[in-house]
């Protein structure tokens, strides 16, 4: 049986098998609860995103800076055949984390203030969509070309790092874009049966 074919029927069979074991009852209630959360098997059974990021009002960035950060994150991870930073509310998450850092991580907040100032200095705030795209490409160049320099490269890296985290830890990034299969309940571990992997 492969992971895709997991069904409520097989789940029920498994529950009956486990509950017939004396000590299996110890964890039975937890298992049932977990099973209910993931009753459709890997990936497809991942619960909905119930976070309130969609309704979150930015508290760390000014409205103008937030718009710039949001635009930047969507250039880095655009919406295409899969969701992007917009659907994952990456800019909102970044603002949320930075606001929560009040009193705990003044250096982090300072670093982000400096990064936003550098973006403004580079003309990102006042640029239109295509110019913003071009600016990000210029800032990113040192990633591939160690001889290249850009004054906003460090801010680019900072936003990229946090945006990557915000995206791939979101449901949109983890489940919809990457099709993450873990955290699910499976009766078997799917074995590699590919002959091309069994030999070099």
């Amino acid at each position: 049986m492969n992971d895709e074919s997991f069904s409520r029927r097989t789940l029920l069979d498994s529950v009956i098998r486990i509950s017939s074991l004396p000590a299996g009852m110890t964890f039975f209630s937890a298992w049932i609860r977990a099973a209910q959360q993931h009753r459709h098997g890997p990936g497809a059974g991942a619960p909905k995103d119930t976070s309130e990021l969609a309704n979150y009002k930015p508290q760390f960035f000014s409205p103008e800076d937030f718009e710039a950060v949001q635009s930047f994150t969507e250039i880095l991870i655009p919406t295409d055949e899969t969701p992007g930073a917009r659907e994952a509310h990456c800019a909102h998450f970044i603002d949320f984390v930075l606001h929560a850092a009040d009193g705990y991580s003044p250096d982090t907040q300072k670093q982000w203030r400096a990064a936003i100032a550098a973006l403004r200095e580079a003309g990102f705030h006042s640029a239109d969509g295509s110019r913003r795209q071009a600016l990000v490409a210029e800032m990113a160049r040192p990633e591939r070309d160690p001889s290249a320099h850009h004054p906003a490269f460090a801010p680019y890296r900072l936003i990229k790092r946090e945006n990557t985290f915000a995206f791939y830890t979101s449901r949109a990034g983890s489940i919809d874009a990457l099709d993450y299969r873990g955290n699910s309940i499976n009766l078997e571990f799917p074995a590699c049966t590919h002959p091309e992997h069994q030999r070099l």
Binding site: L21, P22, T26, S29, D49, T50, P78, A140, A177, C192
Partner: protein, 596 residues
């Protein structure tokens, strides 16, 4: 007059749980004292990162206070309540847990038997001290432990990697198949990791359902822990009294050179309580056991040898290879991290004359795995952005691969030691440990050899090396144990591997070039700390005998890693459990003889 128990067991981790079960089943009245809180296993459940407010990194400040992650800090430890200090030249991170079940709730489950060549390492290479027992002494206890807890694995017949009583193996994922083929091509042995993780219903516990959540507390008890396996049989006897939130501060002695009980502080009231027993068993984790012995006498209790606190050892970490298997790029998503396992490449150096090395003594075990993970640790280091970058992330996501050292033997040296810090006390006013811990040239040479072999295997598998993935690997995410930005002093459940994140502002090295091997890597520990009360045949050479009974005080036993004179190249927990089972038999026999 305080009540007297047959035995007090301090600690409820793997060893404390086993001891409580063994002694109560033999009819003893046992008091188990746990410093942390009670844990309800029904609180364990699957959680996606997006369901956590801070996506696993925890609220600001939370993980400075607690070890672990946003998911599992409740089964770790409050660092503010329980500080420790280190010597100026020491960078050791002591991974700890204080709760009912202790580290058994989030351990890596690796259950490999030590072989005779490890017990007799000193006789073979002239360094250090042999164990006070042989493999044949422990074999029946390995058997007993494995039969009860359930260990999945394959019998291979390798002398340096003794077979056990195994449940069926977990199948290999694609990356593990590729690494297995690469091992065959190199003529290296490899096998499924041997794990205390059930592949079929066993002793009333259900089989693993491959969710990959092992280190956050198994929600069905398919992995061995005190809560899932040993506590209930002990409680069912009606002979076990369990007191949590009870911080033991010292062992009490009576006037006849025998342990008479312990004093503990109630965690929330600070009230000091004395309890009496005919036997005292320390099973509070290796270094906490030694701390208690140091706290119990100005010269250290059971320390006639003068070795108490010395010869602290941990297995090595700090190397490894991370990257991708091009063969797997662009493939479909699969449940690659659902078993949190991998393959094991047993030690092949210094096991006989033909494999003897001139540049270092002792050996190491390697592990390898790969495939899909919860978080693509490499993504932020992958150059570029936009849709092409997203597609490249997706393509590589299923092709991740890593090799890490699973049991690098570190040499025991007297100068690596713990002592009571004369100035720093914990929340209850109890002096804390100060750790002195550095690595030797042999440790560095062994690690350099492992690094070379890991890169050789990675290349043979066709791997493309990339920095920046950290060691979170298949279960990692930023801030997770072993990841490049993991906070200091956090407990991890597995050996650390590469922390090869590219420095900000530099192009990460990519392509066919293997990881650069610096002259001396910064080595770390593996949360396999052992020693500090080593066992010896002669009471002048160590604190414990081969039954983990103190040489000096016959009714005082110390279960954990304290007795290890050397680490060997296997993960230590199974051996600790076997030693505990053997020690409990000895205690019961001795008690019978005394009519106690």
């Amino acid at each position: 007059m305080p009540e007297q128990y047959d035995a007090i067991v301090v600690g409820s981790g793997a060893c404390g749980g086993w001891a409580s079960m063994a002694l109560t089943q033999a009819g003893m009245r046992v008091l188990m004292l746990e410093a942390g809180s009670a844990i309800d296993p029904t609180d364990f459940h699957h959680t996606y990162l997006y369901q956590l407010k801070f996506r696993g990194r925890g609220a600001p400040g939370l993980l400075r206070r607690y070890s672990g992650s946003e998911r599992n800090y409740r089964i770790m430890l409050d660092n503010q309540e329980n500080p420790y200090t280190t010597a100026p030249d020491t960078s050791y991170q002591w991974g700890r847990s204080r709760c009912l079940g202790g580290r058994s709730l989030h351990w890596a489950r690796a259950s490999d038997r030590m072989a005779d060549y490890e017990f007799k390492a000193a006789s073979r290479d002239g360094y250090g001290m042999d164990w006070a027992l042989n493999y044949s002494d422990l074999q029946p206890y390995y058997d007993r432990v494995e039969r009860f807890i359930g260990v999945s694995g394959a019998a291979e017949g390798w002398p340096q990697f003794p077979d056990g009583v195994f449940l069926p193996v977990m199948p290999l994922n694609c990356a593990e198949s590729v690494f297995t083929a690469a091992c065959k091509s190199l003529g290296w042995p490899s096998t499924h990791r041997r794990l205390a993780q059930l592949t079929q219903a066993h002793n009333g516990r259900p089989a693993c359902h491959y969710c990959g959540n092992c280190v956050n507390g198994c929600d069905i008890g398919a992995m061995f822990s005190t809560l899932s396996t040993t506590l209930h049989p002990a409680l069912r006897t009606g002979k076990l009294e369990l007191r949590t939130d009870s911080i033991v501060a010292r062992v009490l002695m009576n006037g006849e050179n025998r342990a008479g009980g312990v004093t503990y502080s109630e965690r929330f009231t600070g009230k000091s309580v004395d309890v009496k027993a005919k036997h005292v068993i320390l099973a509070a984790s290796t270094l906490e056991n030694t701390r208690l012995l140091l706290l119990s006498d100005k010269n250290g209790l059971a320390n006639s040898s003068g070795t108490l606190g010395h010869y602290m050892i941990d297995q090595l970490s700090g190397g490894g290879v991370t990257g991708f298997l091009p063969k797997l790029k662009g493939g479909p998503s699969r449940l690659d991290d659902g078993k949190s396992a991998g393959i094991t490449i047993p030690n092949v150096v210094n096991i006989d004359k033909g494999s003897a090395r001139k540049d270092f003594i002792r050996g190491y075990v390697m592990n390898a795995t790969g495939g899909q993970s919860e978080y693509p640790m490499f993504a932020a280091s992958l150059p570029g952005f936009g849709s092409d970058w997203k597609r490249e992330v997706k393509s590589r996501y299923v092709a991740q691969a890593r090799i890490w050292i699973a049991g690098g033997e570190m040499l025991a040296r007297k100068e690596n030691r713990v002592e009571l810090d004369p100035e720093v006390k914990d929340h209850w006013g109890i002096p804390v440990l100060k750790i002195h811990f550095t690595h030797s040239d042999n440790d560095h040479a062994l690690m350099a050899h492992f690094q070379g072999k890991a890169e050789e295997l990675f290349r043979r598998a066709g791997g493309e090396v990339m920095g920046g993935m950290g060691s979170g690997g298949p279960t990692g995410f930023p801030g997770a144990p072993g990841s490049p930005n993991a906070p200091a002093n956090r407990a991890v459940a597995d050996s650390d591997t590469s922390r090869g994140a590219a420095r900000e502002g530099e192009s990460p090295k990519r392509g066919a070039e293997p990881n650069a091997v610096p002259a001396k890597r910064r080595l770390g520990g593996a949360i396999h700390e052992v020693g500090t009360a080593r066992m010896s045949s002669d009471a002048r050479d160590g604190v414990l005998n081969s039954f983990c009974q103190t040489h000096d005080i016959p009714n005082l036993y110390v279960f954990g890693g304290n007795g290890f004179p050397s680490t060997g190249d296997k993960h230590p927990t199974l051996t600790m459990l076997a030693l505990t089972a053997r020690g409990c038999d000895h205690l019961l026999e001795s008690a019978k003889g005394r009519g106690a």
